[in-house]
């Protein structure tokens, strides 16, 4: 398979003087096949990297929109097998975004191996701390998967160093203190966090939480290497009458955002 690597995507974006656009969509939402089609529409609209969400029963980092999508995915009995199936269908670099327990339950060795086999490039783990990452680091290294941790405006500098040292591929900077979900305005906390990160790491930095519009994408692209959008896409899927309409509207938003990351 001739998918780009994460590093290649960020390098290409940099050479084009823009940020990469990263789109989040849970596997199995609104259905297994539907999630594949929607992700394809995201990519057609200009998403450079896909985060495939692994729905979880107790998503403490997520706001109402992603919770609703997760509940639907779980009702559709979406488990590891389905998540891996969706990852294998994506034509751009794709990572899994998962709370820790489903991975631990599947088996850290087994999950990393299976993800690498279907062509996944990494995993974002919002509730795995570096202190609990011993086996995780070994197995992701063994399978050449990127380990993406999520840092927050409240993360102090000494901790940022420790987390960044264990991160690979890119680092996920939460734009604000809070859960996922669209926000009307973004505060300065994102740019401040990114500039603190720049001092301690050369990893690409992607900013997520709250980004939903062209303007927000453009303003984040001014200082970040990647712009992550999830809830805004999911909301469109929730509102759509069918998959076809959902694909149209997410592709259209992806086009706007992908224009936004070029205007930053």
């Amino acid at each position: 398979m001739s998918r780009e690597s994460l590093a290649q995507v960020f390098a290409r974006a940099r050479s084009e003087d823009r940020a990469a656009l990263i789109g989040y969509m849970p596997a199995g939402f609104p259905s297994l096949e539907g999630s594949k089609e929607i992700i394809k529409a995201l990519v057609d609209g200009g998403v450079d990297i896909v985060e495939v969400g692994f729905a979880y029963s107790d998503p403490v980092m997520d706001g109402a929109i992603i919770q609703e999508a997760a509940e639907i995915a779980l009702r559709n009995r979406t488990g590891a097998k389905e998540v891996l199936d969706v990852v294998s269908s994506v034509s751009v670099p794709s990572l899994v975004m998962s709370y820790w327990n489903p991975i631990e339950r599947y088996g850290v060795k087994e999950f990393t191996k299976a993800l690498a086999e279907v062509g996944g490039v990494g995993v974002i783990t919002p509730d795995l701390t570096i202190e609990e990452s011993g086996e995780w680091i070994e197995e992701t290294e063994r399978n050449d998967l990127s380990r993406v941790y999520v840092v927050a405006p409240s993360t102090d500098d000494s901790r940022l160093v420790k987390v960044a040292e264990r991160c690979s591929g890119f680092i996920y900077a939460a734009s604000l203190m809070g859960v996922t979900g669209a926000r009307n305005s973004l505060s300065d906390s994102a740019s401040q966090l990114v500039s603190r990160l720049r001092k301690i790491t050369d990893l690409p930095i992607a900013v997520g939480l709250g980004v939903s519009t062209w303007e927000q994408a453009a303003s984040v692209a001014k200082f970040a290497d990647g712009v992550i959008v999830g809830s805004a896409f999911i909301e469109l899927v929730l509102q759509a009458a069918d998959i076809e309409q959902a694909c149209k509207s997410v592709a259209s938003l992806a086009r706007q955002l992908s224009d936004g990351v070029r205007k930053g």
Binding site: V60, R105, E131, G134, A152, T155
Partner: protein
Amino acid sequence: MERTEIVGHFGPYGGRFVPEALIGALDELEAANNSASKDPEFQKELNHLHKTYTGRPSIITEAKRFAEHAGNARILLKREDLNHTGSHKINNVLGQALLTKRMGKKRIIAETGAGQHGVASATAAALLGLECVVYMGEEDTKRQALNVARMKLLGATVVPVTTGSRTLKDAINEAMRDWVTNVASTHYLLGTVAGPHPFPTMVRDFHRIIGIEARQQVLEMTGRLPDAVLACVGGGSNAIGIFHPFLDDQKVRLIGLEAGGSGVESGKHAATIVGGTPGVLHGTRSYLLQDSDGQTIESHSISAGLDYPGVGPEHAYLHDIGRAEYRAITDDQAMHAFSLFSKCEGIIPAIETAHALAGALQVGNELGSGTILLINLSGRGDKDVQTAAQYFGIPL
């Protein structure tokens, strides 16, 4: 399982599985708790509150008529039901509320199932002048309506949680979301020995007073240590509080009673250790009720305070090393003990506590006369009158 840095673990259990956003607050809490535990002024203030407000030390009552149904073993009750607000929960709440002030925070949030922890939190907030928001599953706001009213009368805001199973687990999710958002101003006053480090250790230490007092009291009353100590286990705070000071007394059996709901084999239960498997929930590794994909399975119990699919990590460890035993008590067994105990002793226990009493009936009959059982009477049953009336068909 391998870990790079060991913090707050009990064997393979415990630790921290939380968003990075919360690490600063957990570190701050750990530091505040460590310094407070060594600060004589803090200890003095907490002890003074316990003496003049909680009503400590709580007394020991011998349950002689109930004992006749429990193989004539001596049944000694540690009366946490007589604490202000009606349960053991106040021990932890006063400690954490004082820590909140020490950290300079002005707002507390709490989750509650039965409402006992919510009431205790609202009480401490009123006493110490803190803002208090309590998250409670919508399902629980209905079965514990009286406690919702109590919290409101005490000046707290009660937020009914309508996500997931609408019970305690979802109330914790919602409280965590609030905390991630408002962590600079807010302390999350977790109500049991679960959650990320330092909660399991800190909450245990605030409840150890139960076991410290009881050990001394039993020695004075009987001249020896009990043969077994029994307590109900939801998250596990009242149990670890009475167990912990007996850990080194190898001859004293420690027995935790979990909520067996309609029976563990039915799948409708909350017996996390008896019927669960190791995994990660709400920031800690412990036993939990989960399916083969690692999704949490909803728990079932007639007792709102035990209706939780997780359990404190130290209990998981005590179970694995064989220092404590855990059994499941069904709804029906608990309600039988509830009724029997009320009629024999003139004390209406909380339905949570009735699980420990049902355990006492079993263990007393196994060990027989001449043995001594110490039971943590964790709470009183006023809040459960409606549920019990319904169960027994008493018209209201």
